[in-house]
């Protein structure tokens, strides 16, 4: 690791002013991506701003038809929350599939979506549920938030404080794991809320998480796996590596989308 100065602000305002003052500073949430990256010297922020002492940015709350999760809420606290399990079981299930139990005790939803790893699970949930990402400055629709691999709409000195999920009528997440890393080789999140259908894919795209409009259109006619029968997506723009070719990933998107719809309708 390169040397850095460690800051532990007590308020969001202090954290934001540290970010504004130190251009290359990085926020530290659960640290389970940032610290390994720093160990590899792929990142070398001269300043680390730890968010763990700031009150009011962790926890789960339901209000009417929306579920709000604080940015510093750990994966384990999302997966085991009775509120999340009741309101959006697919989201609780997804959080319980991230990493392993010890990793889930540290990793946070805010950290995951701010990092926007192309293989991460939470971006699929945010896009697949039409979430709104709330920061210390504004509200950003998931559709506008994820702007490409490891990149987001966040501005300098902008800090995610919570994520608000509209509660769907039906939803499910299907994850096909890379057998070595256990990350999503491909993950597909589907949801139905009134006439709004969403299909979001992580792990497959070279530019990170994306929606599949052709699948969404087909599911609008009937929300059933049959509606997607024989449908595929082009292999252009898919990741291709030793774990799976672009064609294989494109194929998996169709398979997992059908499985996810089947799970969502309870079949």
């Amino acid at each position: 690791m390169y040397a850095f100065t460690f800051h532990r602000p007590q308020t969001l305002r202090q954290a934001a002013s540290l970010l504004a003052k130190h251009e290359e500073a990085k926020l530290l949430a659960g640290g389970h991506t940032l610290l390994p990256t720093m160990k590899l010297r792929l990142a070398g922020p001269p300043q680390l701003v730890d968010l763990s002492l700031i009150d009011g940015i962790a926890g789960v709350a339901q209000s009417g038809r929306s579920l709000t999760i604080g940015a510093m809420t750990r994966h384990n606290d999302v997966s085991t929350s009775p509120v999340v399990q009741q309101a959006i079981p697919a989201l609780a299930g997804l959080a319980g599939m991230i990493g392993d139990p010890a990793v889930r005790h540290m990793g946070t939803i805010g950290g995951s979506i701010a990092n926007n790893d192309p293989n991460a699970d939470y971006p699929a949930a945010c896009l697949g549920l039409g979430a709104t990402i709330i920061t210390n400055k504004r509200r950003i629709k998931a559709d506008d938030f994820f702007t490409g691999m490891f990149s987001t709409a966040l501005e300098p000195a902008e800090i995610i404080t919570k994520v608000s999920f509209p509660i769907p009528k039906k939803a499910a997440y299907q994850k096909f794991r890379n057998q070595a890393s256990r990350f999503a080789l491909v993950g597909v999140f589907v949801s139905k809320r009134g006439s709004e259908i969403r299909v979001a894919v992580t792990g497959a795209g070279a530019n990170g998480v994306f929606r599949v409009p052709s699948f969404e259109e087909a599911l609008k006619k009937r929300f059933a796996p049959k509606s997607l029968e024989g449908m595929t997506i082009p292999a252009d723009g898919m990741n291709s590596d030793i774990h799976g070719s672009a064609e294989y990933r494109a194929h998996l998107v169709g398979v997992l989308a059908r499985r996810a719809v089947a799970e969502a309708i309870g079949k």
């Binding site: 690791m1 390169y2 040397a3 850095f4 100065t5 460690f6 532990r8 530290l28 640290g31 389970h32 610290l35 390994p36 160990k39 001269p46 680390l48 730890d50 763990s52 384990n76 085991t80 990493g99 392993d100 139990p101 010890a102 990793v103 005790h105 540290m106 256990r182």
Partner: protein, 170 residues
């Protein structure tokens, strides 16, 4: 660039500890190199193998992926703190011994700290499938896991007995 040392105060195995550390110091380095608690091991150093698992505020975490400075005021429990220094082994340690749940022993401290955390979250009656799923983040290269799984199931049952016994004693 030389890093400026910073102070951190926490509790380790019930004892208050204050240390001046380089900010880059990982919890596992604080434990092994500053406090000489070498029961916690470093296997992969990439948060995959689980040899470094300790409890922070009661929850299992990978001490190779936490900075010491993140732990101001925290309560840390390592394998050394699981049983009283001169007392009998913790029931989970005893179950690993009894069931031959280790060969070289390198992964064992992490396995046992993870096992105790599984019991906290999932209770004393654990089936093999649950144990194997929960061991996702702990890697053993000797045993093939079979006896580790057996040991954890037995240790989990024994912990119920010992919890009842210590309550009865109170």
């Amino acid at each position: 660039m030389a890093a400026k040392a910073a102070a951190v105060s926490l509790t380790v195995n019930g004892k208050p500890v204050t240390a001046e550390v380089d900010p880059r110091t990982l919890l596992v380095q604080l434990l092994r190199e500053h406090l000489r608690l070498t029961g916690t091991h470093v296997g992969c150093d990439t948060s995959q193998c689980g040899a470094c698992v300790v409890h922070v505020n009661g929850k299992a975490v990978k001490s190779c992926t936490i900075l010491a400075l993140q732990l101001e005021g925290a309560n840390v429990l390592t394998i050394e703190g699981l049983a009283a220094p001169d007392g009998p082994l913790h029931p989970m340690q005893e179950a690993f011994r009894e069931n031959h749940g280790l060969q070289c022993g390198y992964c064992t401290p992490g396995m046992i700290m993870t096992a105790v955390d599984i019991v906290r979250r999932k209770g004393n009656d654990l089936d093999d499938r649950t144990i194997r799923e929960e061991l996702e983040g702990n890697i053993c290269r000797c045993t093939g896991y079979h006896n580790i799984v057996k040991a954890i199931a037995a240790g989990a049952r024994a912990m119920r007995g010992s919890a009842a016994a210590s309550q009865a004693a109170e």
